[in-house]
Symmetry: C2
């Protein structure tokens, strides 16, 4: 099973449905702005998770399609707001909403996508009881997403504990993956034990995915990742590797040197290389990779509740892909 191929297939499958829920209403500029991110494509990993979970529990995948769209709208809502907060001007090759339109339109387009997602959930063609359970998972996730983004803002430029960093990425990344998996399973009619297992799978997978992303930011090939290796170092992003380094660098002088480079927006290429080599010597880069692997192993172990099949295979393949990619 090729996870990327499955993702491309589900992304195409969603191209139509994703355009079915935002009607032509007034004001046209808000509707147009709200449509921009969801219509633009992207990996659509979260909706793929919804569909895979519904299929993996033996449910009717087609009943989960509207939920998949809702989850993607929620992801897009957070992107629109985050891009404004982070001052990002480009996404998916397009100008971000607060730049292309204006700040109020970006805030309102995000709010509108958020509302639309829950309008779709209210209309899901699943038993009322399941709809209520889905709603609980998804609303909890959105609450947590706001907390995660605020923690991320708060963490900026500070060295936080590994625990705090993991909690931040759990809230920022994992909770929506986990709600997608649990919601898909519920739409597919799974029992509580299976729903819980898939929730835990996606929670661990999200952590593994993000930790490996950070690893690629330091150890990856910039020509493939499209990110400069110095990016996270110059921003002072406090990944698990940085926390590990700060704890494990033995020589106080080296530690001081490392801290001097970290978060220095004007650090030279030479300094960035030096910081990386310090982290390498402290075993921190290997540690990051290893932690990502552990999370993925944990994720896969949760899938034992599932009967064999194509969708379970995808969920395993996606977990393996999370830590075996160069972009």
């Amino acid at each position: 099973m090729d996870a990327k191929e499955y993702l491309m297939r589900t992304s195409r499958e969603l191209d139509g449905p994703i355009r079915q829920y935002i009607d032509d209403e007034e004001p046209a500029n808000l509707i147009e702005a709200a449509r921009q991110y969801p219509y633009a494509g992207g990996k659509r990993m979260r909706p793929a998770m919804v569909l895979a979970a519904a299929g993996a529990v033996g449910g009717d995948r087609s009943k989960a399609v509207p939920l998949a769209v809702a989850v993607e709208y929620i992801h897009n809502f957070t992107l629109v707001h985050d891009d404004f907060m982070d001052g990002d001007r480009q996404r998916r090759g397009m100008t971000t909403i607060h730049v292309a339109y204006d700040v109020p339109t970006a805030i309102l387009a995000g709010d509108a996508l958020f509302a639309k997602a829950f309008q779709i959930i209210a209309e899901l063609d699943v038993p009322d009881r399941n709809m209520r359970e889905i709603l609980k998972y998804v609303t909890r996730a959105v609450w947590d997403l706001a907390r995660g983004q605020e923690m991320d803002v708060n963490n900026e430029g500070r060295i936080v504990s590994e625990e705090t960093y993991i909690e931040t990425i759990r809230l920022k990344t994992s909770v929506l993956f986990a709600a997608a998996a649990a919601g898909g399973a519920l739409a597919g009619g799974a029992d509580d034990r299976t729903v819980k297992a898939l929730h835990e799978y996606a929670m661990a997978l999200g952590l593994g995915f993000q930790i490996f992303d950070d690893y690629l930011g330091i150890a990856g090939d910039p020509s493939k990742t499209g990110k400069s290796v110095g990016n996270d170092i110059r921003k002072g992003k406090c990944t698990v590797m940085v926390t590990h380094a700060v704890k494990n660098i033995k020589d106080p002088k080296v530690l001081e040197e490392f801290k001097g480079i970290l978060g220095n927006a004007d650090a030279t290429e030479e300094q960035v290389k030096r910081a990386r080599s310090i982290m390498e010597d402290a075993g921190s880069i290997a540690y990051g990779r290893q932690l990502a692997q552990e999370k993925v192993t944990e994720a896969i172990s949760k899938l034992d509740v599932l009967a064999p099949g194509e969708h379970k295979e995808f969920m395993i393949a996606l977990a393996r892909y999370a830590i075996d990619r160069d972009v």
Copy 2:
């Protein structure tokens, strides 16, 4: 029945419940910011509408209390975002969130209140089917609120048609009142016909309320309303009175003079008085008051479906109060 007294009573009744849903979680600054508006009090008209509707249909009002809190959180979420968009620095005697904290915290506190409201709805102690219907009304309202605020931003400094203005205030003000009434009725176990009637009541009431607010902005006593009479004129707010004036001023020179004052931020007191007297001569101020009265009459007529009782009396009194107040 004294509507204000009933409002004060329900506002006190909600003081406890409104503090029960936002737990101490990380990050503390986000939680604190999210709590500021709902904890601060205010008229709490929307949650009063929820409770009144639940009581008026003969339901158990206590089952509607969490929904009342959710509706107030939604109202507060829109206030937090709108205050930032409108650049307002004060609300209810406190510094607004984007000023007291920062812009990301204001956006996220709004998003968090939004999410929390739907978490509460997911947990409502009402039959699953009713919960789903409540969710449909409330999500539609939030979608419409975003559209209304965007239309308001778009309208700024332009003379729009009465139809456009009415649609804007319907979306900005009425839809959440209407969802509150319909939701309260559903929480109280009302049949579809009653739910629909209360929805229509609150929709018309919201319009009457806002149109009378605009009337007070021109004809009210500034020492009571706390708003300078010139406010709306200097901002060029296109109320139904302004639209009426533009249509009904016969003398082209006077019309030109009126348009020259409208939206002129530096208009003198003398000019503001002149604009007001032009509107008075055109019958526009009387027209605004009359339109508000018509909406309120329409609202009250919808209440015939209800059996007599205290909560019905409040709904009638609230409608009368909407057009019989000086603040």
